[in-house]
Symmetry: C2
Subunit: 332 residues, 2 copies
Amino acid sequence: MKRLRALSACTLFVGLGLVAAVASAQDPLPSWNDGKAKQAIIDFVGEVTKDGSPDFVPVAERIATFDNDGTLWAEQPMYFQFLFALDRVKMLAPQHPEWKTKEPFASLLKGNVKGALAGGERAMGEIVMATHAGMTTAEFETLVRDGTANAKHPKTGRLYTEMVYQPMLELLAYLRANGFKTFIVSGGGIEFMRPWTEKVYGIPPEQVIGSSIKTKLALRDGKPVLVRLPAVNFIDDKAGKPVGINQHIGRRPILAFGNSDGDLQMLQWTAAGGGARLMGLVHYTDAVREWAYDRTSAIGRLDKALDEAKAKGWTGVSMKDDWKTIFPPVNK
Amino acid sequence: MKRLRALSACTLFVGLGLVAAVASAQDPLPSWNDGKAKQAIIDFVGEVTKDGSPDFVPVAERIATFDNDGTLWAEQPMYFQFLFALDRVKMLAPQHPEWKTKEPFASLLKGNVKGALAGGERAMGEIVMATHAGMTTAEFETLVRDGTANAKHPKTGRLYTEMVYQPMLELLAYLRANGFKTFIVSGGGIEFMRPWTEKVYGIPPEQVIGSSIKTKLALRDGKPVLVRLPAVNFIDDKAGKPVGINQHIGRRPILAFGNSDGDLQMLQWTAAGGGARLMGLVHYTDAVREWAYDRTSAIGRLDKALDEAKAKGWTGVSMKDDWKTIFPPVNK
């Protein structure tokens, strides 16, 4: 009976959003400087969780979506998934003597990434298929686990999974403490993210949406396996993001965060719903502690979305001004 | 401080699976007769939730997947989604004078369903595309809400959403009370289920997996919408079910329930994981209270899966013997 009472008290607290009250007694976003962005987030969460507020949103509908590359973790000097693919090309090269003379692999193996990418999307596609397909989903998961456990960022020497943004980790936790369900909606590979997002972001695999290649059920030693095929299944970028959100979630987010033009349609899709909304845009303005780039960057170009954010009053986050710290401390 | 203490007590209870202890003080499955099936379910839940048990499974990995047609709700005399499509054909007929002479519509409009379906999968596909595509996702949601709020089952006079199985509703609730996340994995249309699964089954849209047609982002009156296109995106049936599970959940279920050969690969996929597993198969054995069919039925054929269930010792559920009641009471 005592247990039952404690349980219903718990249910009640969550239902009434009192978790929020408890959590915000301390600063829920300690790595954010006081300013417009932080205030907009706290105000928004307050509005949608306050019972009786005109903008109150039931827990089940508190859906928050986050881009990954450049929003939750870094994306320079190159998307980390591409660095992972490069490592795989080097590892696989002995089994592919033909790569010595075949582009884009020949350039890659000579360390000439620019030359390799001169082939554009087709070259990129060939690299991805050569390194991401042909194995089972379980085998690929092991490759990703090994890669993310060992490969170091070329500039900072951190693991890729340590190149995540501390202020965003706090934001994810703050939202979840307020009944939000947090999702990743990334142009990156869904199976490249799932092995580590739960540990790093607290986001379970079923809340990760990303690009994918096709898979096919097959039998190996009498056991069913899923084999990764060299064929695109879905590109979760730009106009694909609302499609992916609808496919996986079936509900419109009330909060979305991105950092580039690839996120524009997700932010527009979020903004087009009724009631209170928060559209956030991380802006790389910190050449000292991280990077500074926007309208002309090849990676993470932020141009149209920057204009629209300004025109529509979305929540801009200046890395330099709004973030007290960039990365979490590294536990060795 | 009191609040904080109540909260951590709650977290602790859930973490330790004490919710289970509280719930099972009463019979958690009152509509199930005592017998092998009920005992297998209760034993399984006990094993995977008991801390220190060799088969203990952390909450995050307690994934349970359920087929819908014939497992959670009825599927006779015809899949309800097909009945919905027939109603739509009748409604749309005035806008399509050509249907008077064009199959499969001509036969359908004369009430000759068998004749219409003589065209096989192609005829079926034409009916689905004519009735399920061409509108926005929001418009389709409204059509489904209207349909499920009004259309009555031809035999029982109940709404389709009242043709759900009471013992399965109890099973879903029992699993969730024990930290399971419950998913639907159905050959039916994902967007046909989502508008009502939360209310009827307690399963939110993001935990519904099903077949789908393609969608495309477009602008209408300056607002982004998703338009449903007449092109198949994914068939979540047979060998497609493990593919769909991997795409949406990214984790292997530890419990799965189906009722037909369309569920065989989902059950095999579930069985192929390590540790304790429960594979359940609903068997239509009750010609008096519901239906009796298996190996030769055109709808919900259960043949290969029945053999495999017997050979592998999966949990067979005989509707006649294992279920005390079939449908929930209707609230008018």
